[in-house]
């Protein structure tokens, strides 16, 4: 038997005359069939079960009862129902062809309690926190493990002072740095610049006397004495970390010149031109009795006026 398809705005007749028109259709969510029609008659809306429908002919519906019996049907309690737009009942609107918004389904008894709904909604959030919160600290530490490693303060032999022939001339020392990179043992080519400084240059390199180098706890790990003429400059330009060169400049003579952004430094590392924020970084240096040079490969943050050690 095809399900009844009453139409909204259809005229409704009892056996003894017209009573009103359909304003809502109510469906049963279990059977997906129409269970009641709501008829507006003289300003009141009455809920009429489908058992009272005799026939549906196009735009008019005929009831099996008379007008007196019709007035006995209960009035619609709108708060006991929700429109089909506000719930998700599969296939309901396929089966009952009524304009959406006017198809009503019963509002489940249990859902009528607002306090219940908001309590359980809050409870869901609290349990969500129970699951998400314990993970925050371990995951953060896990990701951050390699980010703040302690400084590498070991001495590396980079060459011998016999390579430096003259004073106040930049000499490049290329060496292989061997280190542990997570699980890999790697070797990288690195370079630093050595200068055998004349006393005037030395005064410019050490304007405030000896340079002290510290570890993370603030303890001194080395002191570069201002009278030692051998100075090692870090091979990374303090602007953005490029490798710079010792070149003859058109007007300034022999200088350290960085090809990336054209920072120019004199033999004492002082900035002559370009975007460099600070002079060339001096490294801790140790010269052995046989003239072997050892440095600590200190790295500072690029682009800053102050020296901030990072490695």
């Amino acid at each position: 038997m095809a399900s009844l398809q009453p139409k909204i705005k259809s005229k409704v007749r009892c056996v003894d005359g017209e009573v009103g028109e359909i304003v809502h259709v109510i469906a049963d969510p279990l059977s997906l069939d129409v269970s009641h029609i709501v008829v507006r008659a003289n300003g009141t809306e009455r809920q009429v079960p489908v058992s009272a429908i005799g026939a549906i002919r196009g735009e008019s519906v005929e009831l099996t009862c008379n007008a007196a019996q019709f007035s006995g049907f209960p009035e619609l309690k709108r708060q006991d129902y929700v429109s089909s737009k506000e719930v998700e009942i599969p296939h309901l609107e396929n089966r009952i062809h009524v304009e959406p918004g006017e198809l009503l389904v019963p509002f489940p008894e249990l859902e009528k309690n607002c306090a219940r709904r908001s309590f359980f909604a809050g409870f869901i959030n609290v349990i969500g926190a129970l699951i998400a919160l314990p993970l925050v600290w371990p995951v953060l530490r896990y990701i951050m493990k390699p980010m703040y490693v302690p400084y590498d303060n070991h001495w590396i032999k980079i060459g011998n002072i016999s390579k430096v022939k003259a004073e106040d001339v930049g000499v490049q020392y290329i060496f292989k740095k061997s280190f542990k990179d997570s699980v890999l043992q790697r070797e990288e080519d690195k370079n630093h610049w050595m200068v055998k400084a004349s006393p005037e240059t030395l005064k410019k390199i050490y304007p405030h006397g000896d340079i002290h180098f510290y570890d993370e706890k603030g303890e001194i790990i080395w002191v570069n004495k201002q009278t030692v003429p051998y100075v090692a400059f870090s091979g990374k330009c303090p602007h953005l970390g490029c490798g710079y060169k010792w070149r003859s400049h058109k007007t300034r003579g022999q200088v350290f010149l960085c090809p990336c952004h054209l920072s120019i430094y004199d033999v004492a590392g002082t900035v002559l031109d370009g975007p460099a924020p600070r002079p060339l970084d001096v490294l801790p240096i140790k010269v052995s009795a046989s003239g072997d040079i050892e440095v600590i490969d200190v790295e500072y943050k690029a682009g800053r006026k102050e020296q901030i050690r990072i490695a």
């Binding site: 969510p29 279990l30 929700v82 737009k85 506000e86 719930v87 998700e88 009942i89 599969p90 296939h91 389904v105 019963p106 489940p108 008894e109 249990l110 859902e111 219940r116 709904r117 359980f120 909604a121 409870f123 869901i124 349990i127 969500g128 129970l130 699951i131 314990p134 371990p138 995951v139 530490r141 896990y142 990701i143 951050m144 493990k145 997570s182 699980v183 890999l184």
Partner: protein
């Protein structure tokens, strides 16, 4: 703060009708009310999400090369803060996923929720099941220790026995005639890219089909009972789902503590004293392969590929063979009996495989 949130909500609602969308998603009436029996699907989704999160974290440090896979896994366990916990969670999460898949499939089977009109949900679900097993198989190789290497080798050799396509399939998986770097690369790509994409797509389809058909609900109850207990998906069913999820989460964490992941020695082509074994959820198949009746090349194919394959095909055909609308499990004796026999069979064979270890010493 509340006022600001309300303003943002109203802004979005004006443009995409958020209120109706919310209502459609949350106000799904569940016949007979929300039930603890319905939580397994949501638990599966949660376990999968956690596997993705822990898996992504592991990828921060894991190196998928035959030279460094083992060392980088040991690095995670021994050098990265809480690395042992993240890896152990991922390991036990994969076991939990297999257990939950079995629970979910059993619940759907016993409730008869594969029957009309839910056949397509069941079929997509079976594909999802195969994907979950494939996840376990591919992930197991990645630490590249003896256990990983040999479980994979044995597993792929079994697949090789399939007639016609076996050799091609085995060479595809191994990336060559013998296992090596290519195997690891392929398993890594499959585990980390292909299977997750497939699972997410199919899980979306699975959920869409489920919402289209609506929940099947309980298999008994008078209309009066069903109506009295009906409530919406949100908040009650969501609440039950999230409590079950919390229990699953705490259980996996506990397992990570009770038995953290420990690797054997690095993989070598010579198994030495090590007796190859697959992960625990494949042990029943492994034991079946040991039975005398399945000895020989044809027998190994039958036990390793044909029987599991036939069983999956039977499950796929189930909604079309079993057309009776009866969903009450106590009125479906064949279904109840078959489920019990299969479950006990798997259990007995798994325990037998564990007992068999003593005989190998």
């Amino acid at each position: 703060m509340n006022g600001l949130l309300q303003k943002v909500y109203d802004f979005v609602d004006e443009r995409i009708d958020l209120k109706t969308l919310e209502a459609k998603m949350m106000n799904e009436p569940i016949k007979g009310g929300s039930r603890w029996a319905y939580v397994f699907g949501s638990c599966l989704l949660f376990i999968f999400i956690m596997q993705v999160i822990t898996g992504i974290l592991l990828m921060f440090y894991y190196i998928p090369s035959a030279d460094h896979a083992y060392a980088s896994t040991q690095y995670i366990i021994h050098e990265v803060d809480y690395g042992w916990f993240i890896l152990s969670y991922h390991f036990w999460g994969s076991s939990a996923m297999v257990v939950m898949v079995f629970a979910h499939m059993s619940q759907v089977f016993l409730w008869g929720a594969y029957k009309k009109p839910r056949e397509m949900i069941w079929l997509v679900g079976l594909v999802l099941f195969v994907i979950v097993m494939a996840f376990g198989f591919t992930g197991y190789l990645l630490p590249w220790d003896q256990r990983a290497y040999w479980a994979t080798t044995v597993g792929v050799e079994i697949m090789d026995k399939t007639p016609i396509v076996g050799d091609f399939l085995a060479r595809f998986l191994k990336g060559g005639p013998t296992p090596g770097q290519m195997t690891l690369s392929r398993f890594f790509v499959i585990h980390v890219m292909i299977l997750p994409a497939a699972l997410m797509g199919l899980a979306g389809l699975h959920l869409f089909l489920f919402r289209s058909a609506g929940p099947a609900g309980p298999f008994r109850g008078t209309p009066e009972e069903l109506r009295a207990k009906t409530d919406f998906f949100f908040p009650r069913q969501v609440w039950k789902d999230i409590v079950a999820i919390a229990v699953v989460f705490l259980t996996i964490c506990s397992l990570a503590f009770i038995e953290p992941v420990q690797l054997l020695e690095q993989a070598t082509p010579d198994p030495g004293d090590y007796h190859p074994e697959p992960e625990w959820y494949f042990l029943f198949l492994f034991q079946m392969l040991r039975l005398k009746v399945f000895s020989g090349e044809l027998g190994q194919f039958v036990a390793g590929v044909a029987i599991p394959g036939a069983f999956l095909l039977l499950l796929a055909a189930l909604p079309f063979i079993d057309r009776s609308p009866e969903r009450n499990i106590f009125k479906r004796p064949i279904a109840l009996l078959s489920w019990t026999v299969v479950t006990i069979g798997i259990l007995v064979l798994t325990v037998s495989a564990i007992l068999n270890r003593e005989f190998l010493e």
